[in-house]
């Protein structure tokens, strides 16, 4: 008799879905970040996950990657047909799920090849085989269309290339499902384009991607499917064919936003602040970070400073704002007609200048402090009673900002560490509004912020200038610069190379100036 098992054909049933997350619920003390979320990703597609700040996107991905380990959430994860219970990120990487987080996770002081194979080094009898490591690293990068000197340190490259190195690192781990949490939020248009192209190429090689982004135009460009989260709930999953941005916005925020850049009309006053022949020399790295800057801002005016990442805009802002990085500066500053010198940020703040940093986690907020203490830290003297901080008043002030800026949190005593990126940005803004400045310098004010909140921030900016405040807005997002500025300066290679009025400015003109330089 023939043994029956010989005839047993092992059918591997490949489901259409590579990933199914079923009824995922995740609670933090005081917040339900995910509420019965269902999320399915088809094999080989690019699936975009979108939603307002704090809607739970990052949390969902952290559940998937094992960052929040099995047992700390409810629900089921099915990957490649099998239920998965990840305890660490390492577990999920073993089955081919690799995440690139909102914050880059490279080690700046290590070389490119060391970074790419960090944590899964190529070893020969326990000893790292560096030659093989280097060739392999170059091979992966080549797959992505890049040839780099892999022996250089990561810190020597711009954010754009660093992002590529992150992807190379993921590829070197045999990735099947690549998760990218806001990979383009810190990239300029050209680098973003390149990155998106790479994700599309990976798709042709059979790699599935989940992409989180607040930039709806790029979502529409690359997505096969779009899932929208709102307040921890799955709102909808739709195929990306011929849907318009407005439709997605409506799903995201629950209402229509007609004009993302709200109009304003008010008088612009006299010159408030002027910078002449400004230079800043970075003593540590021995180079000029600002080679020449001449510009001014009038009362009630919004001035945009456009340029590519690395043009020296943040350095310009720092060097003006009391020079905390200790550059050697020269040139003149005039504030309200008088020549001024700022020896430290506190001098600048006293004169009425505020600077909302682009890097809210790095140097904007104190992550271990709660919302209210972060809001008041730059202007504690306003709420002092004798030498004591008036905590009652602090609470009232913080509550006010929480309401007016719609900061999503369970209380103003929540640590900012646990806030979503967009809400951290709002806390940062609140902190600087509390110093009631005459001039507000905003550095990438809407990086990583959802459309609804963007619209809110633009409206707040309009209210502020209507009250007579002046705003300098540094931004890499051209539509935003064009939509909000009265005048635009273009910066490249450490120099302000041109000025355009709102009427004459176009995306093409600005890019042409910035790139040509």
């Amino acid at each position: 008799m023939v043994n029956a098992t010989l005839f047993q054909v092992r059918v591997i049933f490949l489901s259409e879905y590579i990933l199914e997350m079923k009824n995922i619920t995740k609670e933090f003390p005081g917040v339900k970040a995910l509420d019965n979320v269902n999320f399915k990703v088809k094999r080989g597609e690019i699936h975009c996950l979108i939603g307002e700040n704090g809607s739970g996107k990052s949390t969902l991905m952290k559940v998937l990657s094992g960052f929040h380990k099995h047992g700390t959430y409810d629900g089921q994860i099915i990957f490649e047909g099998k239920e998965q219970k990840f305890n660490t990120i390492y577990d999920s990487e073993k089955v081919g799920i690799v995440t690139i987080y909102q914050e880059l996770a490279l080690i700046p002081e290590l070389t490119v090849y060391e970074n790419i194979f960090l944590g899964h080094e190529i070893k020969n009898k326990g000893i790292i085989d560096w030659n093989k490591t280097i060739t392999e690293a170059e091979k992966v990068l080549k797959k992505l269309g890049y040839t780099l000197d892999t022996s250089k340190k990561v810190k020597d490259f711009g954010v754009g290339v660093q992002q590529i190195i992150e992807i190379a690192k993921a590829l070197s781990k045999n990735v099947k499902l690549l998760i990218l949490d806001e990979p383009t939020s810190a990239l300029n248009e050209t680098d973003s384009e390149k990155l998106l192209q790479i994700i599309k190429d990976l798709k042709n090689h059979g790699i599935t991607s989940i992409l989180i982004s607040h930039k709806l135009n790029e979502v529409l460009e690359v997505a096969d499917t779009i899932t929208v989260l709102r307040d921890g709930l799955t709102i909808t999953t739709i195929e990306n064919n011929n849907i318009s941005e407005n439709v997605i916005i409506k799903h995201m925020v629950g209402r229509e936003i007609n004009d993302i850049y709200p109009k304003r009309d008010h008088e612009i006053g006299d010159k408030l602040f002027e910078v002449k022949n400004w230079k800043a020399f970075d003593k540590k790295n021995e180079r000029y970070v600002v080679k020449s800057a001449n510009f001014y801002v009038r009362r009630g005016e919004i001035v945009g400073i456009a340029g590519l990442i690395g043009a020296g805009r943040t350095e310009l802002a720092h060097s003006i704002f009391g020079n905390p990085d200790d550059y050697k500066v020269s040139g003149e500053l005039y504030f309200e007609g008088k020549k001024v010198q700022f020896k430290s940020p506190s001098d600048a703040i006293k004169s009425g200048i505020a600077y909302v940093s682009e890097d809210r986690k790095g140097n904007g907020l104190i992550l271990d402090f709660d919302i209210k203490t972060n809001i008041t830290i730059a202007n504690l003297k306003k709420i002092l009673k004798g030498i004591f901080v008036n905590e009652n008043e602090e609470v009232i002030i913080a509550e006010d900002y929480r309401k007016s800026l719609k900061i999503k949190s369970h209380s103003i005593e929540q640590k900012v560490l646990n806030l979503s990126g967009g809400n951290q940005q709002k806390v940062s803004l609140a902190k600087w509004l509390f110093v009631t400045p005459k001039l507000l310098i905003l550095d990438e004010p809407t990086r990583g912020i959802d459309v609804g909140a963007k619209h809110e921030i633009y409206s707040i900016m309009n209210e502020l200038v209507a009250e007579g405040m002046s705003i300098i807005m540094i931004s890499s997002e051209l539509p935003e610069v064009l939509g909000m500025s009265d005048r635009i300066y273009v910066m490249a290679g450490g120099k302000i190379i041109g000025e355009l009025s709102n009427k004459e400015a176009t995306q093409e003109k600005i890019m042409a100036m910035a790139v040509e330089y």
């Binding site: 940020p345 506190s346 790095g362 140097n363 992550l367 730059a378 004591f388 901080v389 509550e399």
Partner: protein
């Protein structure tokens, strides 16, 4: 109610953990010594023993909060104690000016540390290691001619050995101590209620009434019992009073003033603090200056307690202070740590030493056990921290 108690314990396990450890240590030693450990005499003794480390631990907490370390406080304390002895014994200086001069010197030494660390950018480890060597040398020079300097000034020696006077002359009980205890408890209850009402006003989370009462009862009875014990012996010692005052001032300074906020901001994120208009240099100077002042105080407490200045005074004080701060939950990553917890940390370590002495554990084993307890405390802290976030 028990559910709430459980979540409360879970949420604050880090803070309560240390108190629980303290209680366990006390109970164990009390059991092993047939109650001798918790006797009035020993408890009173325990507080006097920990005084000079406790004040160092308070200053060290702030140093660690701003991500630095101060290794010079041990021999600094020994050296400053010797200066006090020399001024009084060899130059016939009265007590008060002596103390003021020693305080001033302490502040100056601290500011010098702070200056090199902030303005010149020396790593604090290196700067204060050098300070430790210099102070050690200074101490040896100071005591070279005479060897140990005996201090025969009664007023000065009272600081480390004396007790506050009783105004009521009761035979069995120190009434003033008892009254102070009662006043402290009443203040405590008043502020807890006020704080709770305030929180309710702003719709913040508060403990439910029964748990709240339970907490107040628990703490009040511990404080009450402590003062009762002390009152039935000699009353409050001057050392205890000094530690209490220092702790109170630093607690208020760190939690209620702008300066305190700024210190924690610098520790939490120096870059952000700088951009918020806070001067890192000023804060560093202040914290090291305050450390210097407390070092001087510690030197005075120690010299006074042993009525002498010895060539080895201050040995390893810095490590005891650092250990107390870590047992109390400060974080080397900066920005985290309470002075009150460091005091409890110092109490844990002091109880350990005192208890082991009572049951006759050899000095070598004492070091090993203290090392193990330090590791256990920090492991506990790290484990509970990652869970809380």
């Amino acid at each position: 109610m028990f559910g709430e108690l459980k979540t409360l314990l879970k949420k604050h396990i880090r803070e309560y953990g240390m108190y629980i450890a303290l209680v366990i240590i006390m109970l164990i030693f009390s059991f092993l010594t047939d109650g001798l450990f918790l006797s009035a005499r020993n408890i009173s003794n325990l507080f006097n023993q920990m005084g000079y480390i406790a004040v160092l631990a308070v200053g060290m907490t702030l140093v660690i909060v701003i991500r630095h370390i101060d290794l010079s406080v041990g021999f600094g304390s020994g050296f400053l104690g010797a200066i006090a002895a020399i001024l009084m014994m060899q130059h016939n200086m009265p007590v008060l000016p002596t103390i003021l001069i020693v305080f001033a010197l302490g502040i100056i030494f601290g500011l010098i540390n702070g200056f090199f660390i902030s303005f010149i950018g020396l790593p604090s480890f290196v700067m204060t290691l050098a300070g430790m060597l210099i102070f050690r040398g200074g101490l040896l020079v100071a005591t070279q001619k005479t060897g140990t300097i005996i201090i025969s000034n009664d007023t000065f020696n009272e600081i480390g050995n004396g007790y506050i006077p009783d105004f009521f002359h009761n035979e069995n009980i120190h009434v003033t101590t008892l009254l102070i205890g009662i006043i402290i408890i009443l203040f405590y209850i008043y502020f807890e209620i006020k704080r709770r009402n305030n929180k309710i006003k702003y719709n913040f989370e508060v403990l439910s009434i029964p748990i709240f009462i339970l907490k107040i009862l628990l703490i009040s009875s511990i404080v009450g019992y402590l003062f009762w014990i002390l009152a039935s012996y000699n009353g409050l010692s001057w050392t205890f009073v000094i530690v209490l005052i220092v702790t109170f001032i630093y607690h208020i300074m760190t939690t209620k003033t702008a300066l305190g906020r700024h210190i924690y901001a610098v520790g939490g994120n120096p870059e952000a603090a700088k951009l918020s208009g806070i001067s890192l240099n000023k804060i560093t100077l202040f914290v090291f200056g305050s450390m210097g002042l407390l070092t001087a105080l510690s030197g005075i407490l120690y010299a006074s307690r042993f009525q002498s200045a010895t060539p080895t005074a201050g040995t390893l004080f810095e490590l005891d202070a650092i250990a107390a701060a870590y047992v109390g939950g400060v974080s080397a990553a900066g920005g985290v740590g309470k002075v009150t917890n460091s005091i409890v940390g110092a109490l844990v370590m002091a109880s350990l030493i005192n208890g082991m002495n009572l049951i006759g554990v050899g000095i070598s084993f004492q070091y090993i056990i203290r090392g193990a307890v330090l590791i256990a405390a920090v492991v506990f802290d790290i484990k509970t921290r990652s869970k809380a976030s």
